[in-house]
Amino acid sequence: MSQTNIIPEFVSRRSFIELDGRRRAQSLFDEGTWKELVGPFDRMESPWLPLQGVAPQFDDGCIVIKGKIGGMPAVAIALEGAFQGGSIGEVSGAKMTAALDLAAKDSEAGKRTAAILLLETGGVRLQEANLGLAAVAEVISSVLALRPYAPVITLIAGTVGCFGGMSLAAGVSSYVVMTREARLGLNGPEVIEQESGINEFDSSDRALIWAIHGGEQRVAMGLADALVEDDAKNVKATILGYVQADLRPVYRSQQVEIYRDRIAALDTSEQIDPKSLRQKWNNETTGGLR
């Protein structure tokens, strides 16, 4: 056996999580086909952060890259998790919305342009309060406008995860791709503990957090579509598959009745554990989506 064969794959792979937001977005495109829109040299910074004594970022933590994936037009919009927790503010929200709207315009005109949202975010940027909330509403309506014409793919790689208002954007997207390290939820563990007490959710219990919010559980519950290894090559191939995929006849977010019934059917007299929830929600699916 040669030396290369005994080196396991997880050693030789190129981690996707270790890339910053910009490199993550770039890595999804066909080589030499992409360009960045409204990049750092355009200096579209948040006007609100310096007023509150916080250093801004030249791209406001939102990276927009347009190019081709598998020869098809696509736009990737990445939130940089290291800057202000990937939070969405006035400028980053406007960049995301404008990119989605341009993709919708092209798609409507017959040039199907898929959008990939790389969400590493705690949600609305608290320093920009209402403007951030408005941005979330705009992003969601732009996703809904694009979705009938081209796939909107949310990719949550970790390790920040996707929480708060932006988890709603993930919820309305056509497909959700996660890694085992990623987390997805409306309220983060610390918020749940703060609001409902440590008996409800112990935010220091990492095993518990990943058993509830983690990528593996979310995929197994049918709330996300694909679980990928933290490997740039695998992530790229998975995204390519969804960029080329057919549009969904029905979306998760349209299946209000199914999810209402599922929640109503839960027996809360005893503690529900993540494993039984997987079995209940995934196996009983009738017309539901994986």
């Binding site: 040299f41 250093a55 970022q57 030249f58 933590g61 940089e80 290291a82 800057f83």
Partner: protein, 98 residues
């Protein structure tokens, strides 16, 4: 938050490329390095940590003792240490020298 500016009029070598490196994450910073508009180099820093003007000056004095490019440097800083600052600057220089 504090804004700090420095001029290095003796750095006159013409630069043609531009670079952006780094992220404004905790203990890190981002830098834009572009050809200067006027003569000599200019540095403009926005940092969320106040009171370190002298340290920034020392870091850039050292940087421009070895680098002579007429660049406009703009920095957004979230508490990078002098070591990280120099590393980010060297990264940017690597890009404009490519």
């Amino acid at each position: 938050m504090e804004k700090i500016d420095f001029d290095y009029p003796t750095a006159k070598r013409r630069i043609t490329k531009k670079a952006h490196v780094g992220v404004v994450g905790s203990g890190d910073m981002e830098v834009l390095m572009e050809p200067a508009q006027g003569k000599g180099a200019h540095v403009s820093i926005t940092t969320s940590v106040n009171g370190f003007r002298d340290l920034w000056k020392a870091v850039f004095d050292r940087f421009f003792s070895k680098f002579d490019g007429a660049v406009h440097i703009q920095i957004n800083d979230a508490g990078a240490t002098p070591g990280s600052v120099l590393l980010r600057l060297e990264q940017a220089v690597e890009v404009i020298n490519q």
